[in-house]
Symmetry: C2
Subunit: 224 residues, 2 copies
DNA sequence: TGAGCTATTTTTGTATTCATAATTCATTTT
DNA sequence: AAAATGAATTATGAATACAAAAATAGCTCA
């Protein structure tokens, strides 16, 4: 099967750089040498630089005039800010989802939830995370607001690397699962206000976990 | 006074195109011919194209592969979506502002408020809008969350053209002023939750005004 | 030997050029 | 005459070339 390559070079490049940052092959604070990446991707500098512009706007890299691009460092402050904003957005997604969600979607989300619970009980963290993400995505989709979804997604990119490297402490994990139980109840009852509130709180808990995991650059630039 | 030209060509170009869209010299849906703008700005295509990438990410223009850039049209749907998201963000700004705002800032905001009220009583809509914007900005600043501010600002760009062209009906104007009175009270009482709720509602009212003003492209693409 | 300056190299920012896809216009055919 | 096809033109996407700024290295001189 031939993949239809609708994507432009700069879009492709942006995606790859994003992945590299999230996977840790490009470390926070380090310079991104255009030439090297061009060779690596087999493209010229023009589309690569366009990609960097997009990523800069996303907040993945910072562009210093005449001094090139650097991978944005996540300070504790920034992470806190981002989680707060994402909390507000997820809260809205919950409210809107309760208004627009279909029976079918609720059923699907419930199914995902039970699947997730199974992984939780077995202590399988990776699959748990996977399902968790899919549930949140499903709620976001049910909100029927693409602007919201894109805004959220853009912020989410920035902190993916933290999420990936997060390892759960049991206590927080239990709390997260409890949040999810309550979320399902709200969805069934179409209680948007409460679902919104839970989602906001839910993100606040996640922040604590992320902060504890120690992947954050403290505000004073540590080397690298 | 010499303006410090820290800005790059692409940043300058992006700003100018933004302004052109907001002022109406580039109309929704029309193609943006690269060559023409290059001549107009006196720059080459490279920085201009970089500018378009940024604007595309902001949601000001849409980039169709091999078919160039078009000014994004504001459908009713999009406007509604955007106002919802901005409402959530302003709501958060209110909550955070009540936590972080200084006495001095509250006093400044109050001063702006009274200034605004004076214009309201005199029916001076332009200066009223100006002060109104500054009050919201001040609250946003008091929230001490740059991520929030930038996210909000990016969405705000998209709908500036609607705001500019909005003419107030007395009824809505009265409502807006009432909202503002309540906002000041909340700020003084540091009642973040209520301030947040008011701001969310406040934006909902603005949507009604914008929708009524008829500057929106309906979802079915009208010519142009 | 070390500090400061200059020259060289490297890298970034911008312009130009080349290739390819889309659009337009003319011609042909039904 | 209208529709369809194909050639010419134009615009976009990407690569290369050039200019300017920053980083580096080497050199001089105290």
């Amino acid at each position: 099967m031939i993949k239809i390559q609708q994507n432009t070079l700069y879009g492709e490049a942006a995606a790859r750089i994003r992945d590299m940052i999230n996977e840790g092959s490009l470390l926070p604070g380090v310079r991104i040498p255009e030439k090297q990446l061009c060779e690596q991707f087999g493209i010229s500098r023009t589309p690569l630089r366009e990609a960097l512009k997009v990523l800069a706007f996303e907040g993945m890299v910072e562009l210093l005039p005449n001094r090139g691009a650097r991978v944005m460092r996540l300070t504790r402050q920034m992470l806190e800010e981002t989680y707060n904003v994402m909390g507000a957005l997820e809260g809205l997604s919950g409210e809107l989802a309760c208004r627009h969600v279909t029976e079918q979607e609720v059923a699907d989300i419930q199914a995902l939830h039970y699947q997730m619970m199974a992984h939780y009980k077995r202590g399988e963290i990776r699959p748990y995370f996977e399902l968790n993400q899919r549930i949140h995505d499903a709620i976001m989709l049910a909100a029927r607001n693409d602007t919201l979804r894109e805004t959220y997604s853009s912020l989410n990119y920035r902190i993916q690397r933290v999420r990936y490297s997060t390892h759960m402490i049991d206590e927080y994990w239990d709390q997260a699962v409890a949040d999810h139980e309550a979320m399902i109840e709200c969805l069934l009852a179409r209680d948007g206000e409460r679902l919104g509130a839970i989602l906001r709180e839910h993100l606040r808990h996640k922040l604590v976990v992320a902060a504890a995991s120690g992947v954050i650059d403290e505000d004073q630039p540590t080397a690298v």
